[in-house]
Symmetry: C2
Subunit: 253 residues, 2 copies
């Protein structure tokens, strides 16, 4: 099996290295990842400047690896269209430092790389650990390997990817695996207004996550209750439920 | 009525100016838009550098206008959280030069600005003209104004925005207005490989759109047949249809 790995924390991120090492036990791995952190790049692609590709050696991990001066989506496009001789059987993105749950998914470079693969018709999984400090990738990488092994026997849903979030716990403390929908997680008080040394105003994006825990089927509930959350994601953003209602508006040119 | 206008072609783009002029006939307009073109930025937000805001005068258009050194999503966040005293009744994005149909929507800064507004619970509409050369914004801006007037009387669907694409035609040649779903429009042969003067390889993202016209309910079909296309878009990317199937996989931690 051929597996392509990318991420949005950059090619030298610890989470990518842990994933590449573990997955190389079961498959031929190629890494194509951004040259630096590209968090919150969402599905941005680079149209107005050329992309450069450079081979890199990942510490203590003998897999073919490339870094790209672009976004996670650029990496997947470039790998599939220009760098790889054969299409991979599976594309993995991560392991991201920090959760990608609820509305986070809209902004996430990690998830967008997996969406890009799904657009090409290739099964894809995004992995994130739900912690920012003192993150251990040992169990998450191990779970990722086991999940990939399971996926080999399953019929992967069409035009869909899996968004996996793993609580920052040892394996014996994980409550189980839940198949979830995206929950409601937004942000409030988003900007910190400051003055620079020349008295000019600037703004830092800041803000606090506002989570709605109400729904037990959501990814947010799963993570808070020590479950691994797996959410199937698709890229058809049409809100089909309201089409008939809007047709009744009888809009005219 | 207070209306916020943004775009991804930059604050000085012709399409934004046409929209701001026309909408200021029916509402108090504020413009908060990127300082330069930000196409294909998708839903990227700026977390790792400060944002600067500057007042600008739009040519021949007396509306309060600001430019931001950020993405379309940054502009909407900053407007709603820091710049505007009152939340707008409606957020408009555009008018974009070039269509945003099918899978384009995933990459579109224009649509993402409207998604950001919808995340804040504010009704939002993204406008694009389906042409790149010799674009006239006169009829599209006029249609945008009429649509906004209609929307005042309607119950705008929750957590949804409207993605409007307008064919590059005079009003008498427009076949009508269709409420559509996103069609299937992907790209092939995406990269152009070149050598720089020092013999090093670089890649340009290129490629040709591959459209599937089969489905008469799609935005692609509508535009090709001279209809204005209005697609309701939401930001819950969960693929609910496959959740039950994946539950049957009985995955373990």
């Amino acid at each position: 099996m051929n597996i392509l790995i990318t991420n949005d924390d950059g090619v030298y991120a610890e989470g990518l290295l842990a994933l590449a090492r573990e997955i190389s036990k079961i498959a031929k791995v190629t890494v194509v990842a951004p040259d630096r952190e590209r968090s919150a790049t969402a599905h941005a692609i680079t149209m107005h400047k050329p992309l450069r590709v450079e081979r890199v050696n990942l510490h203590d991990c003998h897999v073919e690896s490339w870094m790209v001066n672009g976004t996670p989506s650029d990496c997947v496009k470039l790998a599939l269209d220009a760098l790889l001789n054969d299409a991979p059987d599976l594309v993995l993105s991560g392991i991201n430092r920090g959760p990608n749950i609820g509305t986070d998914v809209i902004y996430s470079g990690t998830v967008s790389a997996a969406i890009e693969a799904a657009i090409y018709g290739i099964p894809a999984v995004a992995f994130s650990v739900a912690a920012y400090e003192n993150v251990s990738y040992d169990y998450p990488a191990c779970f990722a390997r086991k999940l990939c092994e399971s996926l080999m026997e399953k019929k992967f849903p069409k035009d869909t990817l899996l968004n996996v979030n793993i609580p920052p716990l040892d394996d014996e403390d994980i409550a189980g695996v839940l198949i979830t929908h995206l929950g409601n997680r937004r942000y409030k008080n988003c900007f910190d207004r400051r003055q620079d040394p020349r008295g000019k105003t600037y703004y830092w994006l800041a803000g606090e996550a506002v989570e709605d825990l109400g729904d037990t089927g959501s990814d947010i509930w799963a993570i808070k209750n020590n479950y691994i959350s797996i959410t199937p994601i698709h890229f058809d953003l049409t809100n089909y439920e309201v089409i008939d209602n809007i047709k009744k508006w009888e809009l005219e040119p």
